[in-house]
């Protein structure tokens, strides 16, 4: 039978439950499991309740279950909130010094730390140590991962972990998995940063906004290893315009924000479009409108990303669902932005940005920088030369004998403003339209949508973004077909129609109030029969989806 375990590690904000969750996940990764971590926290620094839900399985997973097998509680509130989610055979592990009355397995975490003269925060190390013994992990495996996490010189944390490990008995044994042993654990944000780097990113600009800030932190922390210049300007408008300036100078740039901050870049997206200056914009959406629910999930920016600003233009939009897709599509979009000299939008969401997923080793080997169309240095250079494909060869300032004139005004072939000459204005608009037609060919390429589950089923479930991970699993469990569009603009109409041609009923699942993918599909002549929507600002669980999709099928 398929192995599938869920563990919650929770505590007060500042108690380090997230870090503890990641360490536990790394140990399971070592045992060969696929891992997915759901991180739950509020928009505050101290005093709230945080928890990480680690799910491990010998198959790829990207969604959370309602029921858990182990609860590791750093504080009383975690017990109060999550004890009800424990399976009948579930194990509660808690800090005995904080909750002496509790039933379950207590660890003398505070006493161990005190005895070894550690800091109070190190109680979480003791909790991890005890937990590992209880679920039957060999000390040699635990030691290996812990040493890597704490750093070789940190004997204190190691001693605390070991003493806690020795203080309890093994209750159950989680065996090694026979899975493919996925290589990496990373969040969607981290994967996006790495994917962009592989596709030749030179400069990253961003102003902080959850849940996009992880990309900024990651680039800043790894600036030396990745060689990506990382800059935090004064606001999102500066971010976007500086990125456009650097791209004009020949550097690949990416920017990111979340919903409201992304909206501030709207005019710059239009500038990128009319001036044909490539920039990759990342919108890690939160539940909106405006400030919305900052640290929780929603998928309500799809239609805005399809039409992110005034004027007639098309831009790429891709919405990956897990870290592998995040890496691949960030790479794709950066390359395509340069190939077609257009803005692109990578649409992430809170759960994808901050959730941790297993990623296989070869993903990054497949991402590389693809060359853009450059001027051949013959004849007079014209930035906006009229071509059949609509794509004009690029050249950058500093090139001898070339004048590179670029503009947000409608312009002639050499980039000078035109207002009077209708023929030139028409020709320029049509040049860009031809480019959009070229972009549509990408939508016909095979990776724009994914199909899973029972391919013969007459019922197809459709979902997108992070939500797709859980919906795919639930659909497979229910024996249904599952279709996930990843490229949202240009919309892969042909592929979608083909995927749905023998289907009698389409059920749409989204994390928003209006069913935005449904609207986009309808704009392309594809109509969903039923909608399963959730807008509590929390993602679907697998059980909840199985239940709601089953109910939808019956009506």
């Amino acid at each position: 039978m398929k192995k599938d375990y869920s563990i919650i590690v929770g505590g007060a904000a500042g108690q380090g439950s997230r870090k503890a969750g990641l360490i536990i996940a790394k140990i399971f990764k070592k045992l060969g499991y696929f891992v997915y971590i759901y991180d739950d926290y509020q928009s505050l620094i101290k005093g709230g309740h945080n928890f990480s839900q680690i799910r491990i399985s010998d198959e790829f997973i990207a969604g959370r279950r309602e029921k858990i097998d182990v609860l590791v509680a750093f504080d009383k509130k975690t017990i109060d909130l999550h004890e009800k989610d424990l399976n009948t055979k579930g194990i509660l592990i808690f800090n005995k010094n904080k909750n002496p009355e509790e039933k379950g397995i207590g660890i003398d975490a505070d006493s161990i730390v005190k005895h070894l003269q550690g800091k109070p925060i190190m109680a979480n190390t003791a909790m991890i140590g005890g937990f590992l013994k209880i679920i039957g992990i060999n000390w040699s495996i635990a030691k290996n991962v812990l040493e890597k996490e704490f750093g070789e010189k940190d004997n204190l944390n190691m001693e605390i972990a070991k003493q806690a490990y020795d203080s309890v008995n093994t209750l159950t044994k989680i065996e090694k998995s026979k899975a493919k042993n996925p290589e990496y654990l990373m969040t969607g944000n981290e994967a996006a940063a790495l994917g962009a780097t592989k596709a030749g990113l030179d400069i990253y600009y961003a102003y902080p906004m959850t849940p996009a800030s992880g990309i900024l932190h990651y680039f800043a922390e790894h600036e030396k290893d990745l060689g990506v210049v990382t800059i935090q300007p004064e606001n999102e408008i500066a971010v976007a315009n500086e990125a456009i300036g650097s791209a004009y100078a020949g550097k690949r740039t990416m920017v990111a924000s979340s919903s409201g901050g992304f909206a501030l870049m709207s005019e710059a997206i239009c500038l990128s479009a009319i001036s044909e200056t490539p920039v990759l914009f990342v919108n890690s959406q939160r539940m909106g409108p405006a400030t919305g629910v900052p640290t929780y999930s929603g998928q309500s920016d799809l239609l805005f990303c399809i039409n992110p600003g005034p004027g007639d233009f098309e831009n790429f939009v891709a919405a990956p669902s897990n870290s592998e897709e995040s890496a691949i599509w960030t790479g794709n979009l950066l390359n395509w932005s340069w190939k077609y000299q257009t803005p692109s939008i990578l649409l992430l969401d809170k759960e994808l940005s901050e959730g941790t997923f297993s990623v296989s080793k070869n993903i990054f080997k497949g991402i590389r920088k693809e060359k853009e169309l450059l001027w051949n240095k013959k004849g007079e250079y014209k930035r906006y030369s009229i071509t059949e494909s609509g794509i004009s060869p690029l050249s950058f300032p500093g090139t001898k004998d070339a004048l590179i004139k670029t503009s947000s005004y409608e312009h002639d072939e050499s980039g000078l403003t035109v207002e009077e000459n209708e023929a030139i204005i028409t020709a320029m608009q049509e040049k860009r339209i031809r480019k959009f037609e070229e972009m549509k060919k990408i939508a016909d390429s095979e990776d724009a949508i994914k199909i899973y589950g029972n391919k013969k089923s007459k019922i197809a479930v459709i979902s997108w973004g992070f939500t797709a991970g859980a919906v795919r699993e639930a659909s497979e469990n229910l024996g249904l077909k599952f279709v996930q569009p990843i490229l949202m603009s240009p919309f892969p109409v042909k592929q979608m129609i083909k995927a749905l041609q023998d289907v009698e009923e389409i059920i749409l699942v989204e994390n928003n109030t209006t069913g935005q993918l449904g609207v986009l599909m309808a704009m392309n002549g594809i109509y969903a029969d039923k909608k399963v929507l959730k807008y509590t600002s929390r993602p679907f669980t697998i059980e909840e989806l199985e239940d709601r999709i089953t109910k939808a099928m019956k009506v």
């Binding site: 290589e183 990496y184 654990l185 990373m186 981290e190 790495l194 780097t197 592989k198 030179d202 400069i203 600009y205 790894h222 600036e223 030396k224 290893d225 990745l226 060689g227 990506v228 210049v229 800059i231 300007p233 004064e234 606001n235 408008i237 500066a238 315009n241 500086e242 990125a243 456009i244 300036g245 650097s246 791209a247 004009y248 100078a249 020949g250 550097k251 740039t253 005019e267 710059a268 500038l271 001036s275 990623v359 990054f364 950058f396 300032p397 500093g398 090139t399 001898k400 004998d401 070339a402 004048l403 590179i404 004139k405 670029t406 503009s407 947000s408 005004y409 050499s414 000078l416 403003t417």
Partner: protein, 281 residues
Amino acid sequence: METKKINLDTNCPNTWCPGCGDFGILMAFKQAVTSMIESGTPKENIVITGDIGCSSKIADYLGLNSFIGLHGRSISLAEGIKMGNPDLKVFAFLGDGGCLDEGISHLIHAAKRNTDITVIMHNNRLFALTTGQFTAVTPKGLKTRSTPSGSIEEPLNPLELLIASNASFIARAYSSRIEDVKNLVLEGAEHKGFSFIEILQPCVSFYNTIEFYNERVYYSQNPNLESKESALKLAREWNYNGEGRIPLGVMYKTDRPVFESETLSLVPRKEDFEKCLKTHS
């Protein structure tokens, strides 16, 4: 030895009103650029950015690399270009509206971080291209199309603001004094770090200040260029409202670390992607 004539013209028809101060700025800037090229700056390494406004049309009239961006964002665009290729000489053109209304945050931060660009602000003390409305530097009481009973706001003193923002080069010029404009542009371009040049520019159509300036401007080099106190004293001689003399020339100049070189010095040439990947295993 024969030098090739430097052509800085384009075939874009000029649509400025006859008598506009922008013509003087165009002429002076061409002279300055010609002199830069003659003394060794490759023409292809010069880039100008424009905002949206009468002033920014200058980019269409100059046979130089240029990028006309969005209203208020000329400085950000210039900063991005400089970061993208620090070998370029970057000038950001814009009007007082773009600089001090729509995009004032970029001005302050560019000065603060000492990015190595030269900002040239055409100051006609109103929005001209939109047919005359008040800006941050419109004198109190001036009747404009959006203030028919006279503007009720006190004007901002941009030079004081720049001193407070730690700009490392601050100068003021007057569009009718072409030789001065040219020299200040050259000095600003040579300065390593952020340079700001305000050019008083009469708008003959909506706010004709030619006589007003002719009577009041005088050249006054700050004797102690690194002193903020004396710079402030000079900056405060005229409050952008009414009377008083108007000093021109360099008001403040100091050397401090440049943003682009500081930033790029943090990033090594040799990258180690694999090392970064390993942190995920």
